[in-house]
Symmetry: C2
Subunit: 332 residues, 2 copies
Amino acid sequence: MQKGRKTMRLSAQEIYDRLVNDDHILELEGQIKFYLGDVDIIVKQKDVVGNIMQEWLQGWLDKRGIEYAPSENTQMPPDFFLNPDDRTRGLLEVKAFNRNGTPGFDIADFRMYAAEIQEKPYMLDVDYLIFGYDMSDDGVVTIKDVWLKKVWQITRRMENYPINLQVKDGVIHKIRPGVWYSERATDYAIFDSLEDFIAAIEETTFKEPKLRDSVASTWLAVFQKNYKARYGAELNVPRWNDIKDKYDLVTDKKKEKAIEYYEKCKSQKQKVDERVLKFQQRIIEATTDKQKANAEEGLTRALATMETAIKKLNEAKENCRAVGVDIEERPQ
Amino acid sequence: MQKGRKTMRLSAQEIYDRLVNDDHILELEGQIKFYLGDVDIIVKQKDVVGNIMQEWLQGWLDKRGIEYAPSENTQMPPDFFLNPDDRTRGLLEVKAFNRNGTPGFDIADFRMYAAEIQEKPYMLDVDYLIFGYDMSDDGVVTIKDVWLKKVWQITRRMENYPINLQVKDGVIHKIRPGVWYSERATDYAIFDSLEDFIAAIEETTFKEPKLRDSVASTWLAVFQKNYKARYGAELNVPRWNDIKDKYDLVTDKKKEKAIEYYEKCKSQKQKVDERVLKFQQRIIEATTDKQKANAEEGLTRALATMETAIKKLNEAKENCRAVGVDIEERPQ
């Protein structure tokens, strides 16, 4: 597998820097070609690129004389051991996805992954080298983005599970990434920290039927024991229930909108109140029948508007209650 | 789309002959390569080949100066019009599949296809140029087989439908091919004729929920009208019920086995009958007590065997009845 001279040992960050700064990978134009007989064609299948960037990187490592050992296990990170002498450090996983869509690759099977990081906490330190590629209609391949990330920097919760999962017929399968590069996430935020990611994994073991009745209740304790053995101290893992809301942008956004609408309705109601008061005042102060009649007409119109304003305000309050916002109740 | 000199107009058969006999396609070694920067790798994804043979053939047609017009409609055959002046003749569809598996390509969506051949009977004359490829572990692509077939020569019935279909949740989707090149089919035979294929299509329209209540009852009549308009006479389409059994190799095989087993049991029973008779005869003819005792002992053993033989024969008869074989009942 390992061809050519091996003169250098680089870290994942050094590999990233070299790809981006020395080899200008973001400016290259590539292509896939099929040769048979004296006829060759450009292959224009976008999904192929996602599956071959790992092999390309291996070719690149070979060509640049960068040391590595390939992993035999394709089911679990990493793809490469950058320090073949110590397979617990310098772990590199390569991912690629069509930058015009959302990341479609898998992180790992949830159950296998939960067992793996529990036993080998250093697996949490795997560097993910991620390529966001594009293929033009003519088959020209370009790399639009390269990222170097830890697992918790590319994952997030989902609605019904603490981690984003591929769930089929109620059965949990693969952990899937979130959209970590979006300027404005609209549903669930990417994790803030490794600690929160671990809290999510632990909580998910209770949601996985096969794990709930076996390892779930002891998963965190065993993890902490192994983590401490490796890093000298336990990880300060919060309880999922204490942190889950901060990742829920859907509900946050709904709350914001509910409050905004309530404030708008309250302000409209106040304006109508003022108009009603104004016409009541005018009726009192009227010196002619004409003035009185005009003021009474205005009051009638204002009272009709008041009815609508009260109805809207009550709806807005109800909506606030529904999304869990506490509106201070003052007598109107 | 059409580059290069266009000097020749070839038929599908001429294209097939040229690929196989002049260009020796069965002896070529191809590969897929990915180029990015100064690093290139061989792509080892077997499924890619299935999707690019059509483009390769287009490159080949270009290079050989063979005339064609590509089709715009990717949902329906053909891929190429070999006679761009008459798009009802010289229709060529290209398919490819991994020769180490079974043909995995789709023929077409059933409902669309039924409508298409009804309106355009010449679509039944489309030539299918089919490549059976292989990719080695090193990514070397070879073409193991090339076939030129009509649609009815690559399709067959299935258990519950007159034509082999992809059925999801009871809904009919694509028509799928059978294994037309197998020396010994084990389940359902490939159609014998276009007529039988049409009988199967018609019968299937009655099994498709959306077609059953709409076009099913008139499908064949409209087809025949259009077929006659094109070819001068109607097609002699049999009724599916009259032909369906001849394509059912599963049942045939079961029947053969049932008869074979019945004959075996019958022959065993006859042998036991003969032994019983023999010992009965010996008892009658015995002249000493010793002879009589021996004969009686033999009769006891033979009668015990008889019991088993009768039981087996009855089971064999029952089995024949179950698979629909008429066993002539003679008094034993």
